[in-house]
Subunit: 332 residues, 2 copies
DNA sequence: CACTGCTATCTAAACGATTAGATGCGATGA
DNA sequence: TCATCGCATCTAATCGTTTAGATAGCAGTG
């Protein structure tokens, strides 16, 4: 008895049923640019409801030249850090009634460029770029298409691009101060194998914070757990572990923890650790990690805000210190 | 010296420059339904290249009634399991030259329904649903709109919906057999607090696999690390821990590990653990987790295939056993 | 040479919504 | 009573592609 549903309902259908033109229906649907008499509005609303009318966003987009869709270029959704960021960006967009196109660029500048082109062809209203490194020419392409772009976790530093990131200097300073409070003199840092992206900034911040201490060691390895794990085992075997360590990412911190565990090194007794990341996971390691938590939600919100708003000069979002056990504190 | 780029290039621009009609250009661009003389094709291609023409997908979508966009409804992208699944789905779609709209439903059936409606209004060509539980009425809505829908991690069991999932029975049987091989007689199971979704199937599979053993204990807690952690501490304090345990998810397994560590319980010596999940993380816990790895990539591929293809009756994807240390094996 | 049959191309009507301009109508004021 | 004003509404152009139907040119055939 139900109507055949394979013919989608259009504005014209609603207009016919309400006995008006498509224009009025449009005016009613989106409190149009012109007013509509109350009685007519009622009729239209009723007709729309009865027919189950759903505006076709594609048609609307073609005419109004705005799709309500934003492209999100992600390095890798299976990385929990990026995944969480993606989720917050999507939700910030949904709050503004926009949809999110997602794509994984997988750490490749080529693929990132490709994705951006595909998104631009889909007429996105904006681009949010959450990539590990590189991909700086994206700004040009987006600009050429007249589409605003915002980098979130890190971005080109030439000042032309809008970049939202945590205030690393601040965070590292706080972490160093905390470890000093535990009596540590020399605070080592575990960064990435190559200097690039936001971790370079974290290293710089660490260098500033420990300036004047020639014994503060700089360690390096890949951002994977495996790499940090084996580095830690190697250092433990050589008896070359520092007593206090700040890691650039949770992945590395967790690798350090498992490497230390495997080598019989006590954390935080023999080795105190603070990570500059703060994924939810960090609360459930053994021992629980003390971190400076990346303010993902605030960053996502600011990024989306920046997409529409004017150049609010993105002053860097504060990353709070979350004290757990790996630093030497004994809360429970 | 460059052209003002704010006026996007259209088919008509290319046609004018090539001295043809828009029809031929269209035929050339997509090896149209009609042939074009070689010489003309060359001219068109040249003109398009010179102008940097990019077809407007929105206009194309409006006319051809197919957007090349698929909606991906996700419970929560910050969960690494879902994140990885999302990534594989996106990449399987990209291989077929389609774009992915993403949305986080956050374990709420209402939000899921809402998202599906938004996606349908955006005229998606298909829907991939990766949600934890519930949301079964989505099938109806999609069907009414004539859009194919596939559930991935779990879905309604009424047989009307297309569901791609790992073969849990098979996986659990293998895990139980392996633990028995280590000499364990009674193999406990840690499931979710409430019976629902795919974990119910895992529990059922476990019940089948340990049938006849009245001492095989069924434990329950939330899927969070915190819950599993505190449950483990409690059981350890009461000296009520089993000797061999299969957990429904890695999150729980990791919680068990940290709870055991905090309670001085040796894994795998006092408590052997196998998780039915297998996120990348499971390789880097202390000790490394033995798991039946969910075949995420294969599942994603099959889901996307199912979206276009006919009802290939989704026979369940095999989840291989990955032997590490938490089961009692001593590989290194 | 008239006619048929191809091929290569052009013309123009969709797709479904938005919105500027035209229109109709009742109320108001002179 | 007529011109005027405003409001509510209608008409139709438009966004950029796709594609069915019309057309033109040319070769082959009787």
């Amino acid at each position: 008895m139900t109507k055949r549903a394979d013919k989608p309902i259009t504005l014209a259908d609603v207009a016919r049923r309400a006995g008006t033109s498509t224009a009025v229906v449009s005016y009613v649907i989106n409190n149009g640019p012109r007013p509509v008499a109350a009685a007519t509005r009622e009729r239209v609303l009723a007709a729309a409801a009865e027919l189950g009318y759903r505006p076709n966003r594609i048609a609307r987009a073609l005419r109004s030249r705005t799709t309500g869709v934003v492209g999100l270029v992600l390095a890798d959704a299976s990385n929990p850090y990026f995944g969480a960021l993606a989720r917050h960006v999507e939700q910030a967009l949904e709050r503004r009634d926009r949809l999110t196109l997602i794509g994984n660029a997988g750490y490749s500048a080529d693929r990132q460029r490709d994705l951006v082109d595909r998104f631009l062809a889909a007429q996105v209203d904006g681009l949010v770029i959450v990539s590990a490194e590189g991909g700086d020419d994206v700004t040009d392409r987006a600009e050429a298409a007249g589409v605003p772009a915002v980098y979130v976790h890190h971005g080109p530093s030439d000042g032309r691009a809008r970049v939202v990131a945590a205030d690393n200097h601040d965070a590292v300073r706080e972490a160093v101060a905390h470890l000093r409070g535990h009596g540590h003199r020399h605070i080592a840092f575990l960064g990435g194998a190559h200097d690039a992206g936001p971790v370079a900034a974290r290293r710089t911040a660490w260098e500033a914070a420990v300036a004047g201490d020639p014994w503060a060691a700089l360690l390096r390895c890949d951002y994977s757990r495996a790499a940090a794990d084996s580095l830690t085992r190697r250092l433990a075997a050589d008896d070359a572990l520092p007593r206090a360590l700040i890691t650039a990412t949770d992945e590395q911190a967790i690798g350090v923890l498992s490497g230390a565990w495997a080598s019989g090194v006590a954390v935080p007794g023999r080795l105190a650790v603070i990570s500059l990341d703060g994924t939810p996971e960090s609360a459930h390691t053994a021992p629980a990690l003390t971190v400076t938590r990346q303010p993902l939600e605030a960053m996502a919100e600011q990024a989306v805000e920046l997409l529409s708003g004017r150049d609010s000069g993105a002053p860097g979002v504060h990353a709070p210190l979350v004290i757990r056990r790996s630093c030497g504190c004994d809360e429970d």
